[in-house]
């Protein structure tokens, strides 16, 4: 999907990809303790990543660590890089030492035996640098550590404050209010929408259900559980299906030239997005600089502080790396050392997963320069990311989302949204069973 999107659309989409998919981790299987390089030996490491500015980050590391040289090998994006890595793992050679891995891809890669377990080679206090929900994403709830979190994508609500002021609206704090605001915005101008339900962004919808307390997968002893057909997911689906059915929310995909145009000309006046949104808005809707503001995501229960995550990545060490100890040193430096994290933020424009790094952010992004408390709000929101488990067939499920919700958004009925959930659950369970995974029914 991301590939197509990159091909099909714009630099803005590319930015989104980059930001939505920006971290990688490393791990080596705990069964063997990897050997460190001999003293004085110079180690060369390759690093597959697609985040911007990573070559500069690596250059900073190289200048202070003459014995461990990291070479950045720029990738097209999350999906193609994973395909390449899986091919290299199957072939037995050709994989890099370090790899940027989107959180949702970690189980797939672990299942293909591509990621080394880093538990024995990382500093003992590494886990303390990250929110528990984030850390769970790189351990998969086991004793192993497959990645170190790099950046995260807590979800927030972005809106055109000038339009809101003109219509006398305040940013919605609950989803009920969001629906009311959506109706008012649409009533004020029939071509204007508060947002769109995008059938091409499975990660976006997953994040919204994560906020509502859903987890699409789960581990039950030695078998997988699939929780797509759950009350929380159905609640979110029928909520959005209702808005689309009433016609107060648009039903066209995000990241299309039409969507960019709508952001620019003010016919899309809100965006349920994540912390990396300023970069995307700057690229896709450059003419609206200074007109946007960010607020926490509307809540299901008034006064709540829950949110989901959309995007973000970790850094992995692959099982083919001959130098997992040195690779882990670099990963640890980049993702949890103040100097490394500062470089990530400055050069990569990322929102770091590292908690001290988050606290160190003060100046708002240039596109949001008038919102002085941007990062204070963001840090508060980030603390409310709900736990969520990804399974080993995320790609199957995400492409099923595209197909099923593609049909549902065309049908424009809440019942079609409901049917899409049933279909996705069936596809997911069917695919796991077909491959031989044990699945709890």
């Amino acid at each position: 999907m991301r590939v197509t999107r990159l091909l099909a659309i714009s630099a803005a989409a590319a930015t989104a990809c980059t930001l939505a998919a920006c971290s990688s981790g490393s791990s080596s299987d705990g069964s063997t303790v990897p050997a460190a390089a001999k003293p004085g030996e110079k180690v060369d490491l390759t690093f597959w990543t697609w985040a911007p500015g990573m070559d500069t980050v690596a250059a900073q590391w190289n200048s202070t660590h003459p014995d461990i040289h990291v070479t950045v090998n720029k990738q097209d994006g999350g999906d193609p890089a994973v395909t390449k890595l899986l091919t290299a793992i199957k072939a037995g050679s050709g994989a890099p030492d370090l790899m940027q891995t989107e959180y949702q891809k970690i189980p797939t890669l672990v299942s293909a035996d591509a990621l080394a377990n880093l538990a024995s080679v990382l500093p003992a206090d590494t886990a303390k640098h990250y929110a528990p929900g984030t850390w769970q994403g790189v351990t998969l709830g086991s004793d192993a550590v497959y990645d170190v979190p790099q950046d995260s994508g807590p979800m927030e609500f972005y809106y055109r404050k000038d339009v809101f002021a003109k219509l006398g609206l305040t940013p919605p704090t609950t989803w009920e209010e969001y629906a009311t605001v959506a109706k008012k915005v649409h009533a004020a101008s029939p071509k204007t929408y508060l947002g769109t339900f995008s059938a091409t962004d499975a990660g976006w919808f997953a994040g919204l259900t994560q906020q509502a307390g859903a987890s699409w997968w789960g581990v039950d002893g030695q078998s997988w559980k699939v929780g797509i057909d759950s009350p929380a997911v159905r609640k979110v689906a029928s909520y959005w299906g209702g808005l689309v059915e009433q016609g107060v929310i648009d039903n066209t995909p995000m990241y299309t030239p039409a969507w960019n145009a709508a952001l620019n000309n003010g016919t899309q006046v809100g965006w349920v997005s994540a912390i990396w949104a300023p970069g995307v808005l700057k690229g896709n809707a450059g003419s609206t600089a200074g007109k946007w503001a960010m607020a926490p995501l509307p809540q299901w229960t008034a006064g709540g502080d829950a949110t989901g995550a959309w995007g973000g990545s970790a850094t992995s060490v692959t099982t083919q790396s001959k130098h997992p100890v040195e690779a882990a040193k670099f990963v640890s430096w980049m993702n949890s050392d103040p100097a490394g994290v500062a470089a990530l933020v400055k050069e990569g424009g990322l929102y770091p997963a590292d908690l001290p790094g988050q606290a160190a952010l003060t100046t708002p992004p240039a596109f949001f320069s008038s919102q002085k408390d941007f990062y204070q709000v963001a840090a508060k929101v980030a603390a409310g990311v709900q736990p969520f488990t990804y399974g080993p067939n995320v790609n199957v499920v995400y492409s099923s989302y595209n197909d099923e919700f593609g049909k549902a958004t065309q049908a424009k009925t809440a019942s079609a949204f409901d049917a899409a959930i049933t279909a996705m659950q069936a596809t997911t369970v069917g695919d796991l069973t077909k491959s031989g995974f044990t699945v709890t029914k």
């Binding site: 030695q222 030239p257 080993p392």
Partner: protein, 317 residues
């Protein structure tokens, strides 16, 4: 042919007997030596990959338990399992149906446009304008058309609105097939035009003149003179268009992120792509590829057999 034969005979006749004997002896191995580089390349880059794809189509991966431990994944024989699944997949069958419709739409339109190519005004310009899109890669063409199709950015929609008309959404489920066929037509008609145009040029003028003297109408000339004489070229273009139809891929894949109406299995090749690169299931993808390849062969050769006598009767006498 005649010229070549003559020269060979002449040179053979003038050369001395020992030379001829030497030539005969070398004749055993020489063709193979000359063919060896090409054959090696064919085997390495065509034969082996095809063989490997066929092998993969009979394999599958079995995972045990959670699939998270080492060696939890094993490649096993799957027999015809992948084929059964591929042929019984409703998504695959509907993609075949869709592509069938696409072909029914595309191929006749293309040929109809072509037959008239001799009559176009401003011929030089028209020919260039029709041929030029052929030089544009399908992905770029689809991006260009994608912009024209999206109501939010389409100049057509903008103009229509100014005129007070509601433009149809060409990317809606009812019209998206036409939208994609239009891109295929735009890109492909140029190539076919060159083929047919050359054939039409080769028809002696006297034939038209004679027909007109006999009181033949323009339509009758087209039907009784042009069509029979360019039949081989028509068959060639028909065959190419049919194969292109079976392989339609870049256009729907590129338009897909712009709309909700194109599913990830819109065309058979998109299903192959999804299985291999989205689902990481190269085994199913290989099986579906083999099915598509066999269908392409069957259709092409079936069609050729059907029309062979008529089309190539001149050559075979």
């Amino acid at each position: 042919m005649t010229v070549a034969t003559t020269s060979v005979t002449t040179s053979a006749a003038t050369s001395a007997t020992p030379a001829r004997r030497r030539g005969r002896r070398a004749g055993g191995a020489a063709p193979y030596v000359y063919l060896a580089p090409a054959m090696t390349l064919v085997v390495l880059f065509l034969g082996l990959p095809i063989g490997y794809a066929v092998y993969l189509s009979f394999r599958a991966v079995r995972v045990s338990g959670l699939g998270l431990s080492r060696n939890a994944r094993q490649e096993v024989w799957a027999g015809f399992g992948n084929y059964v699944r591929s042929l019984s997949d409703p998504d695959f069958l509907s993609s075949v149906g869709r592509v069938g419709l696409y072909g029914l739409l595309l191929v006749p339109t293309m040929l109809a446009l072509l037959l008239d190519s001799e009559r176009a005004r401003a011929r030089g310009f028209a020919r260039l304008a029709i041929f030029l899109p052929y030089a544009i890669p399908a992905v770029i063409a689809s991006l260009l058309w994608g912009f024209l199709y999206l109501p939010g950015v389409s100049p057509g929609a903008f103009l229509a609105e100014r005129l007070g008309v509601t433009p149809p959404d060409v990317l809606s489920s009812g019209l998206v097939l036409f939208a994609i066929a239009n891109i295929g037509l735009w890109g492909g008609v140029g190539f076919n035009m060159v083929v047919i145009f050359t054939a039409l040029k080769a028809i002696p003028r006297e034939l038209y003149e004679a027909a007109r003297l006999d009181g033949c109408s323009e339509a009758a000339i087209a039907w009784r003179i042009k069509v029979p004489l360019v039949t081989p070229s028509l068959i060639l273009t028909f065959l190419f268009s049919m194969i292109a139809t079976l392989q339609v891929f870049a256009e729907p894949l590129t338009l897909r992120p712009l709309t909700n109406t194109i599913s990830s299995t819109w065309s058979p090749l998109m299903k192959v792509y999804r299985d291999a690169f989205t689902r990481d299931d190269v085994y199913s993808a290989a099986a579906t590829s083999v099915v598509i390849a066999l269908a392409t062969f069957a259709l092409s050769f079936g069609f050729l057999r059907l029309v062979q006598r008529r089309a190539f009767s001149q050559e075979t006498g």
